[in-house]
Each structure stands twice: as structure tokens, then as C-alpha cells.
Symmetry: C2
Subunit: 229 residues, 2 copies
DNA sequence: TGACGATAAATTGTTAACAATATAGTTTGA
DNA sequence: TCAAACTATATTGTTAACAATTTATCGTCA
């Protein structure tokens, strides 16, 4: 891995974390020079990182000549992401059960403890991060690198969607659901594990406002003005 | 979409087709200048395209300072790709059944006819292409853009894997399996469609030599020389 | 002969200057 | 006062020159 690639992935991962952990809200302008200055990086590298985030994970949106912003996925896109993620999560859980071992069980328990710590500390960002890490750990345990990589992108994307469409600002505490899922994995109980995954994902999605119609706003109405003849 | 982006996607799609249709065998050296000359493109654009093919679809492998080649995925990677693809294909088939309509049924039949034509013409490359298009069409019919995009990458990747690990050089004729699957979709029979998908994917994979161990070759033995003291 | 090293050529990798565009600010005129 | 036109600044986009590295060529010498 060349120096340039290292730089680009470094920048990508800093931006990705910031977006996933809701430190950079959807719509935030991302100026190349500003980022380069903050991260002590070359603008070319920042530029490349932004393009990759736009194309590979779609957490950044690019408008030609106008630059980059944190993406604002539509409700339709959000639904597709959730649906796709559910597919991958179930597959990964199923394969993870087959790969279960004492060491892996231990890794799961350790991760749950991190999540619990974040909650006790009332550290919102850490909660989001560790919750994501739990899902990534399952993907890793599954042993299928391809599935894991695809899922990882969707997990980040989901986090952005939550930032955009979750009404209550308080983090949905998923610890209990995670604990039950982990137990099913450790018990090598695929049916339960898959069922819990399904519940868990639906539970997250149900806290989102994805079913409001993308409203064409009547400007006149909104401004209390009537232009009709 | 800017001019540069258009150029890059143009180059990507030309290279992708060439790799997927086995005109560029695994391991082929891909020199930036040569490609730029052939496609009348800027080397910078070629370079960007190669990098994206390496990162996004993994049909190209990059070695720093040594350039790009058509990738040669390992047997392990190939297995993961097949496993992941099966997951996505099943999901997409399931969602496609729910989206079925006369127009979409028609599109499926039209695509099958293209495949049949390719076979009648004994045009190997067209056979590969149209076979891939059949799977992409189902993904598109499913209506889930996210799943479709992920699957599309895996379809291309699969084609490269087949080039690498299929012993018989003749294209495995999948028309009948495609016809049966299409019928199940048109009949809105999800169970049959999913079962046929599973069979179809396994059938393809079974024609590959993925279970030979990645052998550590004993050089001395291979050369008939014994260096032992 | 053929191993070694030096030189040249080919190829990839990097960068900073420049161009193009968008945004903000300022002047002017009615 | 306001809008339009103009200017200046900020920001993104492009490129070609250059640097670094690898590969090929050639000559030397043991």
C-alpha cells in the first residue's frame, strides 16, 4: 500500500466515523481545503477520499463544481438500504452460527461489554460506534470477507440514515437486543438468531420516519401567500 | 456528471466488459499508456478507472509501482464471492416475484430470446454477456437499487472467476435453467424461483475447480533436485 | 560464457500551477 | 432603495511536467 493510498484511507476513515457517529450532520458542506488543513493532508488526497466516499459508500454527495456535502439519502433510498442490510445481516448471522467457537463467543461478549460501558458513560458517539462494531464483529465471525465488506458499507450508510430520519435524538438503546442475539449465536441457534436479527432491524427501522411522502412543498401555502388570479 | 467522470465510467465499462467476457484473461498486464492510446483517453482517466475497478469490483489488481493486471482471485475469495452472490440472488429473486408485472415478464422473455440467439450464433462472448444481463435484469426487476448494485458487481466478479477456474472452455449453457427460473418468476412462485436460483448457482460453481488446495509448491521437488544435506 | 553492474528506457506515481466555475462583494444608475 | 452589472475572491477541476521506480539493454570482466 502506497503512501497516497494510506493517506486516502486515513482521511476516509476519519470522515466516515464523523458521519456515522453523527458529528457531521447530513448536508454539511465539506470543503476540500478546510479538511486538508484540519487533517494536515494534501488537497488531492482529500479530494480522492471524498470521491471514494461518494461512490463506494454513498455517505457523501458530490455536485460538480460545487463540491461535497454529507449525503442526504432519500426515504426511498433509505428503505432500500434497510432492506438490503436485512438480507446481508441474516446471511451473515446464519454463517456466523456455523463458525462459532469459544474464542469468537468471547469476542462477542467483550464487544457487548464495550457497548454497556458506552451506555453507562452516557457517551452517545461511543454508543453509536460500539453498536456498529457489534454488527461488524458478527460479519467478521461469519468468515465471508465479501459479505462482510458489503455489509460494512451498509452499516455506515444506515447510521447516516438514522441521523437523517430518526425523530427522537436519543440513541435507541439496542443493548438488550444485541445481548439476546449474541446469546443465540453462542448457543448456535440459527433460527433464533435470524429471527432476532429480523426483529432488531425492524425495530431500528420502525423508529424512523421513512413513510412520510416526499412532499412537494407548496411555497405559496408555506409562506401564507396566495398568487391565484 | 462531469466530463472526467463520464470518461472514467466509459473506460471502466469497456474494461469491465472485456474482463467479464473473457477477452482479457486473468493476469493480463494493463498498461496505462497502452489503454489510453487504444481508447483515445487521457492517462489520468485510465488510471482513475483502473483504481476504481480494483477497489470497487476487484476485477483488477494493483501492485504499487508495478501497475495493474486483470485480477486472479484466490480459490478462497472465489468461494466467498459465490456464497455472497447466492445470498443476493435469492433475495433479489424473492423481491422480484413481488414486483412481477406483464411488462416485466415480457422483459424477461425478451432477454431469454437474446440469450437463445447468442447460443444459435455460437457467439461465446455474447452468450456470457446475455447470461449476465439476465441476472442483472432480475435484480433490476426487484426494485431494490442497493441490492441490484451490489449484485451487479458480484456478477462481473463471478465471470472473472469462471475464466480463471473453469476447466472446460466451452460456456456452460444455462439457457434452460434461466428459462425455468424466468417461468417461476412470471408465475409468481417464490419458493420454486428461489430453489431454482440455488440449483443454478450451485450448478455453475460445481463446474469450477475451487476445491483444490492452494498448493505450496516444493520447488526442489518440482525441478527434480534435492538440496537436502 | 554468464554473472554482475552500469546505463538507458519504460512505466508508474506525485504535485503544483493553472483553468474554470461558483460565490460574495461592490459599484453604479435609475 | 433596489437591481443589475461588474469585480474580486473562493473553491473546485484539470493537466502536464516532473520525480521515483521498475524493467530492459548493454558492456565488462572473471
Amino acid at each position: 500500500m502506497s503512501h497516497a493510498e494510506k493517506e486516502i484511507t486515513r482521511i476516509m476513515s476519519i470522515l466516515t466515523s464523523a458521519i456515522a457517529e453523527h458529528r457531521l450532520p447530513p448536508g454539511t458542506r465539506l470543503k476540500e481545503e478546510v479538511i486538508a488543513g484540519l487533517l494536515e493532508a494534501n488537497r488531492n488526497h482529500v479530494r480522492a477520499a471524498l470521491r471514494r466516499l461518494a461512490i463506494e459508500i454513498k455517505v457523501v454527495s458530490l455536485v460538480p463544481n460545487k463540491g461535497a456535502r454529507v449525503a442526504q439519502p432519500s426515504r426511498d433510498e433509505a428503505k432500500d438500504v434497510f432492506s438490503a442490510r436485512l438480507v446481508l445481516e441474516k446471511a451473515v448471522v446464519e454463517q456466523a452460527v456455523a463458525q462459532m467457537s469459544p474464542a469468537k463467543a468471547n469476542a462477542l461478549l467483550k464487544q457487548l461489554e464495550k457497548e454497556a460501558q458506552a451506555i453507562r458513560a452516557n457517551d452517545r458517539q461511543r454508543m453509536i460506534r460500539e453498536s456498529g462494531e457489534f454488527h461488524k464483529l458478527i460479519a467478521q465471525i461469519s468468515g465471508n470477507r465479501v459479505l462482510a465488506e458489503l455489509l460494512e458499507g451498509l452499516i455506515t450508510r444506515t447510521s447516516l440514515i438514522i441521523a437523517l430520519y430518526q425523530e427522537t435524538t436519543d440513541v435507541k438503546c439496542a443493548l438488550e437486543e444485541h445481548q439476546r442475539l449474541a446469546q443465540a449465536l453462542i448457543d448456535k441457534n440459527p433460527d433464533t438468531a435470524i429471527a432476532l436479527t429480523e426483529e432488531h432491524m425492524h425495530s431500528i427501522e420502525s423508529h424512523l420516519q421513512l413513510d412520510l411522502v416526499e412532499k412537494e412543498i407548496d411555497l405559496g401555502l408555506a409562506l401564507g401567500v396566495n398568487f391565484s388570479v
